[in-house]
């Protein structure tokens, strides 16, 4: 359960968001839509803990009953997906996934888990490739798998499909939705594309 309570975000000269409150249940997708420049991405950045210094944010965020808005980014246990997949270019796909799997298992177990995840997504043939050899769709899927392997307790999606070919988008949306349901993740989505809202069966908040 991800609870946003009276979130406000302001530039020095004007307010972007005022007193936004929303609760996202496990496996549910809430989409924040609206024209650009209204602070959609800033809202995600505030929840995720990477709001730029130039912006002022306030309000509380609770994740599974624990308050996280004062925690540093790395302790919030949120998975973030953006337009760019941000796969590390000097690590191969398998290593990118291993990077995300938390410590506490043997190397053999971690590796088996990463390979199983790839196989389940039909991506086992790219395990040893470098990210720049992947197609756009493959990279997007690997990025999502990587985020999921870091065992987040909620997902923040910032226009994750806008850079993909139209033909691919549908496929990737289905893939993402399936994962969200499988792991029962509360998901906050920011988009300007109504099709995203429909495909992920999201409740919509218009800014």
């Amino acid at each position: 359960m991800l609870e946003l309570n009276r979130i406000s975000i302001a530039l020095p000269e004007r307010d972007l968001i005022r007193d936004l409150s929303v609760t996202v249940a496990p496996g549910q997708v809430v989409a924040v839509t609206g024209p650009s420049g209204q602070g959609k991405s800033s809202l995600l950045a505030y929840v995720g803990g990477f709001l730029p210094d130039a912006l002022q944010g306030s309000g509380t965020v609770n994740l599974n009953g624990k308050r996280i808005d004062s925690l540093p980014m790395e302790q919030r246990r949120l998975g973030v997906l953006q337009q760019q997949p941000l796969l590390f270019p000097h690590l191969n796909v398998l290593e990118n996934l291993l990077f995300a799997i938390p410590e506490g298992q043997t190397n053999r177990q971690r590796r088996a888990r990463a390979l199983d995840t790839l196989a389940a997504a039909g991506l086992n043939q790219v395990a040893y490739q470098l990210p720049d050899t992947l197609s756009g769709g493959q990279a997007a899927r690997v990025a999502l798998l990587r985020t999921l392997l870091s065992e987040p307790q909620a997902l923040l999606l910032d226009e994750p499909f806008s850079k993909l070919d139209i033909a691919l988008r549908e496929q990737i949306r289905e893939f993402v939705l399936a994962q969200i349901h499988q792991f029962a993740l509360p998901t906050l989505l920011v988009t300007h594309d109504p099709e995203d809202v429909a495909a992920l069966r999201a409740s919509e908040i218009k800014l």
């Binding site: 990477f50 953006q82 000097h90 990077f99 995300a100 395990a127 040893y128």
Partner: protein, 559 residues
């Protein structure tokens, strides 16, 4: 933050200490006996030195003419070639020239220009009838011609490198196209319109070159005149004079040299401004033909090609001498080759190479650490970035000889003797600005989102910084390492002073032996000296490219 202030202190205290340590003697303090003489007395004695006027004159002529020639030739080369394929190719071929130590190039040039050198063999005896080396003064000539040539050979590639980057900017290309559409031939645009645009971005590099040319010691010792030498070399003699009472006039002279550099820089700037405003007026006449400008640029272009060819010959001749066994004048090639010289001097050569290598690696590693610290701080405190960067240009514009001897004096006074670390520290001072300036662009342009993502996936800030950010910046780090290493290898005066005569590198040895020494031996030492930075550049270009594929192949052999 503490580390940041620490680096600033480490980088600038020596300059302060060095300056104070020559200021006091210049006021009359005798550091070794701790006694004072009259300030007036020191300066009067300086004026009365018989060599003073001639030495200053030779410094002025060689420094200014070399800068001017290097600038004009480099500009003409860029004007003719920057928009062509040949220009790209030449840029790639000439880039390694940048890394060759000045002294190695000067020695190669001496091997070409000397009466028994390659150029004379080329035309003898069929053209000149010389069966023996002619009795001519072609190097260390009193008119400083050979010195000027050596300085131009070394500075021109640097200026070409800087100007090529400017010439590839979109605004310059658009301007060339536009004025061509208005009926101006490209060379006219280069001659009338572009100098103003270029000069704005070239001012700092030019001042660095000018200051270097006016204060250079190693090249001037190899190819510069004698009795008197250029002023910087004369100062070196005074500082090293066993009669220690010369320290005050040497210090006063160092201040005089500093004043000379400042005065020449100001004079240069004034001349440049009036020339540029003259060119601007010329632009407004609308004339599409300027035969003088055009032919001047063409001539300078030919000269620059000739100079580049000479630079390559100068490097080529080093190994030829090194592996020659018998080489009679006027034969073009040695009668026989051998490794004799190499085997004979392999022990000292190995030792010199090891010293050079260790100094380079130590100073570069410390400079990398310091640069990363400075850049990380200036990434957060963006407001101060440009201020910090300007401070670090300072060592490049200040004459080495003054402040280094200040350091020397203070080391004697506090009785600190640790040749290796003192030298490594002095090298670090000169390596740091280059490493910092090379890293600055890529480091500040790094997409911080990657690091943010890494932190979210794996909460280990330090491991992520090393494994993601630095690993992704590998190409820039390797390039900075190679540049820093080349700078360290080339250092002459800092090694001479920090090492107190007990630490020799390839460069100090090559310079010491350059004129009087055995040519085969000098050829080998200078060749090794030129090879080390070349090798570093080669590795820096190659390693980042093969690093990841190689690592993956080793780690996942079956994939």
């Amino acid at each position: 933050m503490a580390g940041f202030i620490g680096v600033l202190l480490l980088a600038f205290t020596p300059f302060a200490v060095g300056m104070i340590s020559i200021l006091l003697p210049a006021l009359g303090w005798q550091p070794l006996t701790n006694t004072w003489v009259d300030t007036q007395h020191v300066w009067l004695e300086l004026w009365q030195q018989p060599e003073l006027v001639n030495a200053l004159l030779r410094t002025l002529v060689s420094g200014v003419v070399a800068t001017l020639l290097a600038l004009v030739c480099a500009y003409a080369l860029v004007a003719k070639l920057s928009q062509t394929q040949f220009g790209h190719w030449l840029g790639a071929v000439a880039a390694p020239l940048l890394s060759i130590p000045h002294s190695a190039a000067a020695i190669g040039l001496a091997f070409l220009l000397a009466p028994s050198g390659w150029l004379f063999r080329l035309v003898s005896p069929w053209l000149t009838d010389w069966q023996r080396p002619p009795n001519l003064i072609t190097i260390q000539d009193p008119y400083t011609l050979s010195l000027i040539l050596a300085l131009v050979l070394k500075e021109m590639p640097y200026l070409v490198f800087v100007m090529m980057a400017i010439a590839r900017q979109d605004k310059i290309r658009q301007l060339l196209t536009t004025s061509q559409q208005l009926g101006y031939p490209p060379l006219i645009t280069w001659g009338k319109l572009l100098p103003t645009l270029f000069y704005r971005e070239l001012r700092l590099p030019i001042f660095i070159v000018l200051s270097f040319n006016l204060t250079v010691v190693d090249v001037a010792q190899i190819l510069g005149p004698d009795t008197p030498p250029t002023f910087a070399v004369l100062l070196l003699h005074w500082f090293q004079d066993p009669a220690i009472d010369r320290i005050p006039i040497a210090s006063a002279g160092a201040l005089l040299l500093l004043a000379l550099v400042a005065a020449v820089s100001i004079g240069w700037e004034l001349c440049a401004r009036s020339l540029l405003s003259y060119l601007k007026n010329l632009t407004l006449t609308g004339s599409r033909q300027q035969p003088l400008l055009e032919w001047g640029l063409r001539f300078a272009y030919l000269l620059s090609l000739l100079l580049l060819a000479l630079a390559f010959l100068a490097l080529l001749v080093l190994p030829i001498w090194g592996f020659a066994q018998r080489w009679r004048f006027p034969d073009l090639w040695p009668q026989s080759w051998s490794f004799d010289t190499f085997w004979r001097i392999q022990q000292p050569l190995l030792e010199l190479t090891a010293n050079t290598f260790m100094l380079g690696v130590t100073s570069v590693m410390l400079a990398l650490l310091a640069s990363l610290l400075l850049l990380e701080v200036s990434r957060i405190l963006t407001r101060y970035t440009s201020l910090i960067m300007i401070l670090f240009y300072l060592p490049l514009v200040l004459p080495q000889i003054g402040f280094l001897f200040g350091i020397h004096i203070s080391l004697i006074v506090i009785e600190l003797h640790h040749p290796f670390w003192t030298t490594a520290y002095l090298h670090w001072l000169y390596v740091l600005p280059y490493v910092l300036l090379t890293l600055k662009g890529p480091y500040l342009a790094f997409n911080q989102n990657y690091l943010d993502e890494a932190i979210r996936l794996r909460p280990h800030p330090l491991r992520n910084y090393l494994g993601i950010k630095l690993a992704m910046l590998k190409p820039a780090l390797f390039t900075a390492t190679a540049i820093g290493f080349a700078v360290s290898v080339a250092q002459y005066l800092p090694t001479l002073i920090g090492g107190e005569g007990r630490l020799s590198t390839l460069t100090t040895e090559a310079v010491a032996q350059a004129v009087a020494g055995d040519r085969k031996r000098v050829g080998l030492v200078a060749m090794t000296q030129a090879l080390l930075p070349l090798l570093a550049f080669l590795l820096a270009a190659l390693l980042p490219r093969i690093w990841t594929p190689l690592r993956l192949r080793l780690k996942y052999p079956h994939a």
